[in-house]
Symmetry: C2
Subunit: 211 residues, 2 copies
C-alpha cells in the first residue's frame, strides 16, 4: 500500500470558520486514513488585501448570514463557539508562534493552535499581544523567554511570510482551505465534497452521498 | 398530516451556480416531500451593489477556485455546463419575463427559467436581448407579441423590482439561496445542510450524515 498524502489544512486563528473546522479536521482525516498538515495563512492582513476585499462578515447581507452559519456549524459539530466582538485585533503573533513551534515540533504546534483558537473563539481573549502566545506556549512546556525572543526575530517573521506566500501561490483565499490529493476545497460547507474525493477520487453522480 | 411548506429557491439566470442548483432543486425537494417556489433576484445588477462587491468570479484567487468548483459540481450532478465567456451581458429581460410568466402560470415560468439557463450556461447564448426571452417563451406556447409588450411595460418592471426587494429583505446576497422552513442556506455547497434540516429540523452532531 502506498503512503497516503496528508491533508493540507490552511488556517488563520483570526477566522471563526477556521476555528470551527479545526475542531473536526483531525477526525475527518482519520476517517480516511490521513494525517493533517496544518499550514498558516493570514487572511485579514494579507490575502483579502490582494483580493481587494474586506473581511466577509463585515459585508451587508452576507454578514448576518455568516453569523447564523457559524452558530449552526458549532451545533452540528457539537463544539463551543462564542463570537468575541473584539475589534482591531489580529492573529500575527499567534501565527508566527505557530510557525516557529512547527519548525521543531509539529504536533506541539497543532496543540498550540487549538488552544489559541479556544482562547479567541470560546473564551473571547484578545490574542493580539505576544504575551498571550507566550503564555499558551508556556502552558505546553515551551520556554517563555525563548518564544518571546523568537517572536521578535526577523527569521520567525520571515518564516511566516514565506509560508503565507506559499499558501497564496496555492490559491488559498480564505479559511478553512483544504488541499487533498491535489484537489482544493474552501469552507466548512465543502468538507462533504472533500470526503467524497478522499473516498472515490473522482466526481460522478453515481457516488452520491445522499443524506 | 399538515401541509409542508415549499422550499424557496432564489435564482438569477446570470449565475453559473444558480444554473447548477436549478438542475437539482426539484429532485432534492421531492426527496423531502416538498415543492419549490422559484423566486427571482438580481445579483449582479442590484445585490452586489448594495454589498459593495463585484461578481465573485472576478476576484483574484477566488475566481479560479470558483471556476474549478463549477466544473466539479457539474460532474457531481451529471449535467452539462459550459462557461460562456460573455461580457457586458445581463439577465434583466429574462428575469422580468420569468416574473411575468409566473404571474399566470408558475410551472410554465419554471420551465422557461430552465430553458433560459440552458441557453446561457450550456449553449453560450447571450440572453440579454428581449428577443431571446421572447423566442424561448414562444417555444413554450406563449404569444410572442404579448411577452414583448409585457417586457416593455412598467408593471412588469415594477413586479420584478418588488420581488428583488423582497429577496433582499429576506437577506438574499447571492444565488443559489434557499429558505426551507425559515432556515437560510447559500450555495450548492450548503445543500447537504438544507437536506439535513429538512430531515431532522434541528442541528445536532447525532444527526451526522457521514459519507
Amino acid at each position: 500500500m502506498s503512503a497516503k498524502q496528508p491533508i493540507a489544512f490552511y488556517f488563520d486563528l483570526f477566522s471563526p470558520f477556521g476555528y470551527l473546522a479545526s475542531t473536526q479536521i483531525e477526525k475527518i482525516a482519520a476517517r480516511h486514513g490521513r494525517t493533517v498538515d496544518w499550514r498558516p495563512v493570514l487572511v485579514g492582513i494579507t490575502v483579502l488585501k490582494i483580493m481587494g476585499m474586506k473581511p466577509l462578515p463585515t459585508y451587508p447581507l452576507k454578514g448576518p448570514y455568516l453569523n447564523l452559519d457559524g452558530h449552526r456549524f458549532a451545533q452540528i459539530y457539537g463544539v463551543p463557539y462564542k463570537p468575541h466582538g473584539l475589534k482591531g485585533h489580529n492573529s500575527l503573533a499567534g501565527m508566527r508562534a505557530f510557525q516557529w513551534i512547527k519548525s521543531f515540533d509539529e504536533s506541539l504546534a497543532v496543540e498550540f493552535a487549538k488552544r489559541m483558537y479556544a482562547k479567541l473563539w470560546v473564551e473571547s481573549v484578545d490574542i493580539t499581544p505576544v504575551e498571550v502566545s507566550a503564555d499558551v506556549a508556556a502552558g505546553l512546556g515551551v520556554d517563555r523567554e525563548k518564544i518571546l525572543a523568537a517572536l521578535a526575530s526577523d527569521e520567525v517573521k520571515q518564516a511566516l511570510t514565506t509560508a503565507v506566500n506559499d499558501a497564496i501561490e496555492q490559491g488559498v483565499f480564505g479559511v478553512p482551505f483544504f488541499i487533498a490529493d491535489g484537489e482544493k476545497f474552501f469552507g466548512n460547507d465543502h468538507i462533504w465534497m472533500m470526503e467524497r474525493w478522499l473516498k472515490y477520487g473522482r466526481w460522478s453522480p453515481e457516488d452520491s452521498v445522499g443524506l
